[in-house]
């Protein structure tokens, strides 16, 4: 039953998109897709067991400067889990505490805080995702890229590695660019 509901939810989100992976002209459609991608990053990236919240606590995704995306993500992740834990979507300000988050998405509105956030979480098992290209250059793990009306992403493998994260090769297969390969 729960599975069915989840399927329906994903189906509903996906049904809004006429062409798979294509971005409609509205920023809403783009954020919807990015929200889904964010969730999927969570499924393809491995955290060390001690980096994950204790059993019963939530896997937390912090969303900075992208409240609409946070809303989509909230809808999307309702009833879903990541690494066996319920998901908490936490819209936050750039200077919020980052002790207990596993993923942080920095939206376009807060992109000038990106480098600072990267620095604050440096060498900690936090997957840092940038809304626009350039994040990788200042310490981010994954950058979203819109190319030919399609949402794609670049991965900085060495950064993930340094933070104790491991990305699935299957995810890397569909990445636009993978940098920092060992």
């Amino acid at each position: 039953m729960a599975l069915l509901i989840r399927r329906l939810a994903v189906a509903t989100v996906a049904a809004w998109l006429a062409v798979p992976g294509a971005v409609a002209q509205s920023p809403d459609a783009e954020y919807q897709l990015k929200a889904a991608f964010l969730y999927h990053f969570g499924t393809f990236v491995e955290w060390r067991e001690d980096a994950l919240p204790r059993a019963g606590e939530s896997f937390t995704i912090g969303v900075v400067g992208a409240d609409p995306l946070a809303n989509y993500l909230l809808t999307l992740t309702r009833g879903r889990t990541l690494h066996g834990r319920p998901i908490e979507v936490r819209p936050m300000r750039a200077d919020a505490r980052l002790d207990d988050v596993q993923m942080v998405f920095v939206g376009r509105a807060a992109i000038r805080d990106f480098a600072r956030i990267a620095e604050r979480t440096a060498d900690r098992p936090v997957l840092l995702v940038s809304d626009v290209p350039g994040g990788i250059a200042v310490g981010g793990g994954i950058d979203f890229v819109v190319e030919e009306d399609r949402v794609r992403f670049d991965v900085a493998l060495d950064r993930l590695h340094r933070r104790g994260l491991r990305a699935s090769s299957r995810m890397l297969d569909v990445a636009r660019r993978v940098v920092g390969e060992p």
């Binding site: 989840r6 399927r7 189906a11 991608f37 393809f44 879903r80 399609r150 299957r170």
Partner: protein
Amino acid sequence: MIAFFRRASVRFKLIVAMMVTALAALLVATAAMTVYELGSYTNARTQDIETQTELLGAASIAALSFQDPGTAEENLGVLRHRPSIAAAGIYDDAGRLFATYSRDGGDTFPARPGAASTTIDGAWLLVFKDIVHNEEVIGSAYMRAEFPRLERMADYLMIAGLAALAALLMALLFALGLQRGITRPILLINRAARDVVDHHEYKLRAEKVTDDEIGTLAESFNLMLDEIHARTSELQELNENLERRIRERTAELERSNLELQSFSYTVSHDLRSPLRAIAGFTQALRTRLPDELDEESAAYFDRIRAAVRRMGQRIDGLLNLAHLSRHQLARQDVDLGELASEVLADIRQREPDRTADVRISDDLKVRGDPTLLRALIDNLLENAWKFTAHTDSARIEVGVEQQEGRRAYFVRDNGAGFDMKFADKLFQPFQRVHATPEFPGTGIGLATVKRIVERHGGRVWAEAAPAQGATFYFTLAGGWRYT
């Protein structure tokens, strides 16, 4: 077919039996292996395609997750190395076709993914698999692969058929070799038996080749031949002995018979001349004596004459009896009743004063020698006539009755009869039951009767009681033919 099989040789039957057995075993084995092979092929093929579909689905997870149909189709392109897969497709979580692969191009795909399943559709295997990621169904993988079951079975059956044919040929070679071990000993016995039957050569022996039942049969057969050979020689010897003895006895008998005949002839003949002398000189002596003799002397003369006459009669009887033995038997239809009437007419003529009630059956036709049978009836009727001489209202009957399944002819009278204790002596020559003066006779008559009946292959006997009359029965060979 059954009749043909019954006529066929043991060799042929053995070969057929072995071949049929081999064929049955091959059929069962081939059928079992075909069923097994088909089952295992179906399993293997199904599992292979299911795994392939599963892998394809797994490889498409990232592409599905990140909305990248290009990568998905690249993944599907790997299937070019598996030409038996005609088409494959990935559906997203909304059931829309996400990526496709078509070996020949232009395949049509199901508009919506089916539930996870494997379907056999004729020569095609259709497989749907859910694509699961993070405990969630995110799409479906579809695959349509060739499933050439019938071709596969045809190939397999052809190979199995060729193998079976080769096996049968080998079985035939083995059968040809093996049957010889069984049939050769049988054929050897058979040939020996044929030779024995055809040539009556009991010294032949069947060759014993084996130590099994057939070997025992050959031994038994040879033992039987030994036995037959021994018996045959024995019989032959016995036969030769018997023949020799018969020849000897016959010669002996002929000699003694001849001797006896000449003896009785000589005796009769030689007895006649002294008898004639006695008669002649008695007559001469009488003429020399005075005509009127004293009563006593006259009586003596009468008695001498009577004795001489009786002597003459006896000699005649003896001659007759001897003659009977030499007489060549003729076989004709004879009516005993007719004979009896003629004989009776003679007798009545001789003694016209006597009255007797005579009954003759008209069912007395027999086959035999007319002369001898006439003598037989003559003797019996003479006896009956004689022994009823002193009976009031004499009665004589000539007839026939059934005794022990045979026709027994009889002459019955109600005359003097006799005591049955004399029955044994009755038919011997010169044995007389009654005193001479009352019933004169030679004592030869019944001996003659017995001889005649015996020469006809029959039997004679009498039943009587003193003063109650007598019945003389006789049978003749073939008498039953007239019943």
